[in-house]
């Protein structure tokens, strides 16, 4: 009997520990559930309010209409001008960020000495950490006056200045993701090419870039997705005129800028204007989610294994 006592005590303590462990596991799984709930919340909110919107405006009219006058007394809800505005800004951003990002990635990964790399890389990281509102300020107060001197016909708010600023914003991201991909290419491949008498240019463009191509392209797609979702730069610099144009010197309005414009005004909940936020948001969410899934798919499908 005396011998049994410590054993009994131990089981009691054991049971207590086990109970505590179970509780902790449940608590932690609830924490993990928050991010699942966030996804459900995003999709749920976007869908439920959009359904209300599409009861009043047909989906076909929304997706194919070329006039967006949501804030006027006789509103028309054709989303294409907003899509066009987003497209112009994104294309300009890519024209800036993709070649420069890839170029600086090649430099950092293939040409730069350790010391130069040590200085250049943190600088690009600082650029990546600057809030986008600061780029918006830069676009409006620095880029826009320059653009107006070069092209006197352009408006104060124009897609070009917004697009350039968006390009500068996504540049560090494209550069660092592409550089990571290039540095992951095994050294033996480079050395093989050097042994055959290749120059650095040939090693970079014929060996390293092709070997890392899937990750490089996925970094471009992530950059495009980030450019489409950027709000503050375009809200400040690209204007607030829904404009069915591809002319970068005109004032446009992107999907995000429209959402921001409506939200910063006084909108009554439940009204049609309030619901347009969610309909445009749903379109934005679908586009960016599609691009993110595509970029993951490309890496998974075309990744070269060594």
């Amino acid at each position: 009997m005396i011998l049994d006592r410590p054993y009994e005590e131990k089981t009691a303590r054991y049971k207590k520990i086990e109970r505590k462990e179970k509780l902790i596991k449940i608590l932690l799984s609830m924490f993990a559930g928050v991010s699942v709930l966030t996804t459900i919340g995003i999709i749920g909110v976007l869908l439920s309010e959009s359904i209300g919107f599409f009861k009043e405006v047909s989906i076909v009219e929304f997706l194919t209409g070329t006039e967006w006058t949501a804030l006027f007394s006789n509103p028309k809800f054709g989303v294409l001008p907003l899509v066009a505005g987003t497209l112009v800004v994104t294309v300009i951003g890519c024209i800036i960020a993709i070649p420069l990002g890839l170029g600086s990635a090649i430099y950092l990964s293939e040409y730069a000495s350790k010391r130069t790399r040590k200085i250049l890389k943190p600088t690009l990281e600082i650029l990546a950490g600057i809030p986008t509102i600061v780029y918006g300020y830069f676009a409006l107060t620095v880029l826009s006056p320059v653009i107006r001197t070069v092209f006197p016909s352009s408006s104060v708010f124009n897609a070009l200045s917004g697009g350039i600023a968006v390009g500068i914003m996504i540049l560090p991201m494209i550069s660092s993701l592409s550089e990571d991909a290039m540095r992951a290419v095994p050294e033996s491949l480079r050395e093989g090419a050097y042994a055959l008498g290749c120059t650095k240019l040939e090693v970079a463009t014929k060996v390293v870039v092709p070997a890392a191509l899937s990750s490089i392209i996925s970094s471009f797609i992530l950059g495009i997705s980030r450019a489409i979702g950027e709000t503050m730069i375009v809200a400040l610099a690209a204007g607030s005129t829904p404009n069915m144009t591809l002319n970068p010197l005109e004032s446009v309005q992107t999907m995000t800028a429209f959402i921001a414009q409506v939200a910063s005004g006084d909108v009554s909940h439940g009204g049609l204007i309030y619901k347009t936020i969610f309909a445009v948001g749903l379109l934005l969410f679908c586009i960016t989610l599609g691009l993110n899934v595509l970029s993951r798919y490309i890496v998974k499908k075309y990744k070269e294994e060594y």
């Binding site: 505590k20 462990e21 596991k25 608590l27 932690l28 799984s29 924490f31 991010s35 699942v36 966030t38 996804t39 919340g41 995003i42 909110v45 976007l46 420069l100 170029g103 600086s104 950092l108 040409y111 250049l120 600088t123 690009l124 650029l127 950490g129 809030p131 986008t132 509102i133 600061v134 918006g136 300020y137 830069f138 107060t141 620095v142 540049l171 550069s175 120059t199 650095k200 040939e202 970079a204 463009t205 992530l222 980030r226 489409i228 950027e230 709000t231 503050m232 400040l236 995000t256 959402i259 921001a260 939200a263 909940h269 936020i277 969610f278 948001g281 960016t288 989610l289 993110n292 993951r296």
Partner: protein
């Protein structure tokens, strides 16, 4: 032999081109900082920090948005950090390589790619309207917490993954329970890099504008918040408002506010790097 010469020349030209594209980032950063400091620096004085905003540029200050930003960031951190670290522990230590883990992980990486303004829409729909929290600090903080959660989770996971397996197994061999291993072995080892990632994520939230624009950060507010249900302004919102005005002096005010924002970001990032370097040495030594 001219073939080799032309290949060498091409290589040198290419070297110049990629060097130029790498340097362009540095040039842009320099121009950006020069422009902001040259327009904003002269506006920075004690009154700029103690005055509320005003329609007269010379009397305008950032008291309300600065206090608002501090409130928002503090509450965002209180909400997001425990949930983020908890999720990371759950994924790394409890789920193994199960389907559940893959599902949550995929979900998190999708969330990381959602534009910040969509989080704003979520906050507007759920916190402001559905839960009736209104355009308040708590709505803003909850929204930002959800926005930075994926970043916190992923960086905390990386930190937890870096704990050597033999340390954990030594803990289990001594008869420790899972939670005892987590609190006694894993967290003490990985807390410096967890903190680094968390500080960086929270400081990124400091510069976020779009989501808080959606949940109702206003730019003309003449009181400092005293509780979580108060309405609020934040520094980036004030910068937005001043930049959007046509008058030149308000642009300079915006530049001054940007200097304040950048200095705060610089300090918080500095702290994060300091924590990492300090404890890295300790663990190595």
């Amino acid at each position: 032999m001219s073939n080799i010469r032309s290949r060498r020349i091409k290589n040198n030209v290419f070297h110049g081109v990629v060097l130029a594209s790498a340097l362009l980032g540095v040039v842009v950063l320099a121009v950006l900082l020069f422009d902001i400091f040259s327009s904003g620096l002269s506006w920075l004085n004690a009154e700029f920090f103690t005055n509320y905003t005003s329609r007269i540029a010379s009397r305008a200050g950032i008291r309300a948005p600065l206090m608002g930003s501090i409130w928002i960031i503090a509450i965002t951190a209180v909400i997001a950090v425990p949930i983020g670290i908890g999720t990371a522990i759950y994924l790394e230590e409890y789920t193994g390589q199960s389907k559940l883990r893959n599902f949550i992980q995929l979900n998190i990486s999708n969330l990381a790619g959602v534009p910040s303004i969509v989080y704003g829409i979520l906050g507007l729909g759920v916190f402001v309207v559905f839960l009736g929290l209104g355009r308040s600090i708590i709505s803003g903080s909850l929204t930002l917490a959800l926005l930075i959660l994926p970043v916190i989770i992923v960086s905390s996971q990386e930190a937890i993954k870096s704990v050597p397996k033999d340390l954990k197994e030594a803990g289990y061999a001594l008869g420790l329970s899972k939670w005892q291993v987590i609190t006694g072995v894993i967290l003490p080892y990985s807390i410096p890099s967890i903190m680094t990632g968390n500080i960086l994520a929270v400081s990124r939230a400091l510069g976020e504008t779009a989501p808080l624009l959606m949940v109702g950060a206003v730019s003309f507010i003449a009181f400092s918040p005293t509780g979580i249900m108060d309405s609020f302004s934040i520094l980036p919102m004030q910068i937005y408002n001043w930049t959007a005005r046509p008058q030149e002096e308000f642009h300079d005010l915006a530049a001054a506010a940007i200097i304040v924002l950048l200095v705060i970001l610089f300090i918080t990032n500095g702290i994060a790097i300091y924590v990492r370097n300090k404890y890295e040495d300790r663990l190595k030594g």
